[in-house]
């Protein structure tokens, strides 16, 4: 029982980590605080559901569509909505405020569209739903697949960003958008890419989550919230921190829901958040700002 | 006689870097002291430690006998320390007059009503920009923005004024105006600690200087003594010249 809970928590945490990684890219590099992140995720989850039920397309194939589609749509959102705000903002604080407000509006638009199309009921479908025995515990195959794919995507991105030249330009913009142009980096292009990758990860996370969790059109907000908390716990802009914090959050939440009460899942996340705020506001893996 | 501002073993560590290393010196009431040192020697950090922008890692700072090390910046401001910033910081959405009213309202004496208006106008007059009271600070020239910052520091009616390269970036005529302005303040009996690179200004304004290098105190004495000190020359020019 204990091991099963741990495994289920780890699996859930893997998708949290992936979604939070997306948010961290958008906030850490593109400087956009995207409150509609969870809506991107839910939209992708509905895509997977529709394609699976309607066309018999397995979610893993949908994933291959969702990743580039999420990238393209987010690229568009950045170009149309965010770029004018970036150009207009005289400082980072103003951009933060404007992007929070603009994406808050976007949240309601996306949620409204999904409510219109799919209604407000919880949805799920059954795919790879047979148990697999792992170290004596049974875990559904879909969860295991989702976990492996999440971690592969997450760690793959981490390696790209920390080990490649392209990754270095992203990190440069994250650290200092003002001085990155001095070494020939096109900040605007990098920010657009980072925002689009963030959206791509949200879409991927949505498809993966839909394989083993019931979801509804109004459920994006809670995912955004958890992703935000993971980003802060991991230390803003710290990708490895976000991955570890995501896994930790998944485990803690699963323990609370299975041993204490499923109604307290969000409360447990918030208690963790408050502890981090009071004890290490720079994040568990962040460094203190001087 | 006890000192007005007294630093003892003030230390600041950023991770492995020792930015300020056990600084100890006193300022008597009415003194104007220059804080010198090459770039990166920790002068601005020390000012930040005194004003509370950063908490010191160790050591103590006393103003008129009261311990202020580790207090928040606003508490230190209310204890009678005011400062200007190396890079000018104005309040862009408020008029020049309103900028100067702020410390009068929240400083040690917490004035309100007509009183903050009177104090702000007096301070603007003191620095010579009373005629710009209703302008927006963003429209001011660089030197006038610096004057505004000085007026704002004065409006707190501080015991000790910390000037962080207040004269930097001025052209030769403005520099003469600036030096004259600080000398005028000096005659009101205010105590000033000023970080400065312009030797002309240091010689003109400071009878005494404190010199830092690599975070530590390397000289403290009359300006002439200090500027002739081989350690100081070595710090500025490199060891080979010593």
């Amino acid at each position: 029982m204990l091991l099963t809970t741990l495994m289920i928590g780890l699996v859930l945490g893997g998708t949290y980590a992936l979604v939070a990684l997306g948010l961290s890219m958008q906030y850490g590099i593109a400087r956009i605080m995207n409150l509609a992140h969870g809506e991107f995720m839910i939209a992708a989850a509905f895509c997977a559901y529709v394609l699976f039920n309607g066309a018999g397309l397995p979610p893993l194939v949908t994933l291959l569509i969702a990743l580039p589609l999420g990238y393209g749509l987010s690229w568009l959102v950045y170009s149309v909505m965010m770029h004018p705000l970036v150009k207009r903002a005289p400082n980072r604080g103003q951009l933060e405020a404007d992007s929070i407000l603009a994406t808050f509006g976007l949240l309601f638009i996306l949620q409204g569209i999904m409510l219109l199309v799919f209604g407000s009921d919880f949805t799920s479908y059954s795919y790879l739903n047979h148990p697999i025995n792992l170290w004596g515990t049974n875990i559904a195959a879909n969860r295991l697949v989702a976990f492996i794919v999440s971690l592969t995507l997450g760690l793959g991105l981490y390696v790209l960003i920390t080990r490649t030249r392209w990754g270095a330009t992203l990190r440069a913009v994250a650290l200092s958008p003002a001085s990155a142009p001095l070494v020939g980096i096109q900040v605007d292009k990098v920010a657009r890419q980072a925002f689009a990758i963030g959206g791509s990860l949200a879409a991927g996370g949505g498809v993966l989550v839909s394989m083993f969790v019931t979801f509804s059109a109004a459920g994006g907000v809670v995912f955004t919230m958890k992703a935000l908390i993971v980003v802060i716990m991991g230390g803003t802009g710290n990708l490895m921190g976000a991955i570890i914090a995501g896994l930790a959050l998944g485990i803690i939440e699963t323990f609370v829901t299975s041993y204490i009460d499923p109604g307290l899942s969000l409360a447990s996340v918030y208690i963790l958040f408050i502890i981090v705020l009071l004890w290490r506001p720079q994040g568990l893996f962040g460094t203190a700002r001087s | 006689m006890s000192a007005l501002l007294s630093l003892s073993n003030v230390t600041k560590r950023f991770g492995g870097l020792l930015a300020v290393n056990s600084m100890t010196f006193d300022l008597q009431e009415g003194e104007v002291v220059g804080l010198l040192g090459p770039n990166g020697s920790g002068k601005t950090t020390l000012i930040n430690l005194i004003s509370g922008a950063l908490p010191p890692t160790a050591g103590s700072v006393h103003v008129a006998g009261k311990e202020i090390a580790g207090l928040r910046a606003d508490q230190i401001a209310r204890s009678g320390i005011a400062r200007t910033f190396q890079l000018v910081r104005i309040l862009p959405s408020m008029t020049v007059l309103e900028n100067v009213q702020v410390p009068a309202a929240f400083g040690a004496k917490s004035h309100w009503g007509g009183e903050i208006d009177r104090i702000a106008r007096t301070c603007l007059e003191q620095v010579g920009i009373a005629h710009l009271a209703r302008a927006m600070p963003g429209d001011l020239t660089y030197i006038d923005q610096k004057r505004l910052e000085l007026a704002r520091a004065l409006a707190a009616e501080p015991k000790v004024l910390l000037l962080d390269e207040w004269l930097a970036g001025l052209n030769p005529t403005e520099l003469q105006d600036g030096i004259a302005l600080i000398r005028k303040l000096q005659s009101t009996g205010i105590t000033i600690l000023l970080v400065e690179h312009i030797m002309e200004a240091v010689r003109a304004l400071c009878p005494r200087c404190v010199v830092m290098n690599a975070g530590a105190l390397i000289a403290d004495g009359t300006t002439e003594e200090v500027l002739a000190d081989p350690n100081v020359i070595a710090a500025y020019l490199g060891d080979s010249h010593a």
Binding site: I100, G105, I109, Y270 | R83, V102, F106
Partner: protein, 317 residues
């Protein structure tokens, strides 16, 4: 001198006219006015904190809902004034707790916390009701007609605007403006940053809690899902922004046209309501970043041929 007298006379006259409204208005129109007064309170209270500090609070309904739910729980056991006081106290404690946990840190922590606060409170209350009291969903039987609720909310809205006007003349009004401009200068001028922000947040949240408490008898039946409706937070922000969160009367000015619009939208496009609202919200952020009032001022200045437009822009950012 005449000008000086004119303003209080106008306000008193307007207030008297509004107080007499139930005599002439239909039940439907009065219900609409109840919502208007409620949102005037919420938007003005929101702007009181978020306007000058620029900390965007998305938690309006957390307090509003807490107020409403407190009344639902206590209305049968305590006399009404005591119920209101209890709601107020709960709102103050909740706001103080949230404020002390987040307002010492950068604004983003506060936004994130406020984003989920309503959902958190809703889940906690639901959990408590299901597991401890066993009664999810409550009825409110208070002997109030629509006009009684209207008068109370009118008084609260008037009080909120009056309080806003008064705070503007005190240190508590000046301090957040300085903080909004430059926190470092604010601290070095002797302003206690965290205390100022927490105090303003608590005042603003207390007013929101009261608005929810007073309006709650309108529902008759209350359940956490009803009173913690995130649309309330959303509408509050959009109204305050439309009018201009930096002005005393800005939020009020934003409430009236938007309430009319919402009423029309929800009657004609009930299914597209939130999509249209979201689009409108984005439009406002893009076109009127500082609200209608300052945009008008900017246009008037540029119409007069003064080239100050740029400095106004800069001053507001």
């Amino acid at each position: 001198m005449v000008q000086k007298l004119l303003k209080p006379l106008l306000i008193m006259g307007g207030g008297a006219g509004l107080a007499a409204a139930p005599v002439v208005l239909s039940e439907y129109a009065l219900g609409f006015m109840v919502s208007v007064m409620s949102y005037v309170t919420l938007a003005t209270a929101w702007a009181m904190f978020s306007g000058p500090t620029r900390y965007i609070s998305l938690a309006t309904v957390a307090f509003y809902g807490t107020g409403a739910y407190t009344v639902a729980v206590l209305s049968e056991t305590l006399p009404y004034p005591l119920v209101l006081l209890t709601a107020l106290a709960i709102g103050v404690v909740l706001a103080a707790f949230v404020g002390m946990a987040t307002l010492r840190l950068a604004g983003i922590y506060f936004v994130v916390f406020s984003f989920g606060l309503a959902e958190l409170v809703r889940q906690l209350i639901t959990w408590f009701e299901v597991n401890v009291t066993g009664t999810l969903g409550r009825y409110i039987f208070l002997p109030f007609e629509t006009q009684h609720i209207y008068w109370q909310l009118l008084a609260l809205a008037g009080f909120t605007i009056g309080l806003g006007a008064w705070i503007r003349r005190t240190r508590l009004g000046l301090a957040p403006k300085v903080i909004g401009d430059d926190e470092v200068v604010a601290a070095h001028s002797g302003i206690a940053l965290a205390r100022t922000k927490v105090m303003l947040f608590v005042v603003s949240a207390a007013l929101m809690t009261l608005a929810g408490a007073i309006q709650s008898p309108r529902w008759v039946y209350i359940e956490p899902g009803i009173v913690f409706n995130p649309t309330v937070s959303f509408l509050t922000v959009i109204m305050a922004l439309l009018g201009g969160a930096g002005r005393l009367w800005g939020p009020t000015l934003g409430v009236i046209p938007l309430m009319v619009l919402f009423e029309w939208l929800s009657a004609n496009f009930p299914d597209h309501f939130s999509i249209l609202l979201g689009a409108l919200f984005i439009l406002i952020v893009f076109l009127l970043p500082n609200g209608v009032l300052s945009a008008l001022e900017g246009w008037m200045k540029s119409a007069k041929g003064q080239s100050n437009g740029k400095t106004i822009e800069e001053a507001q950012t």
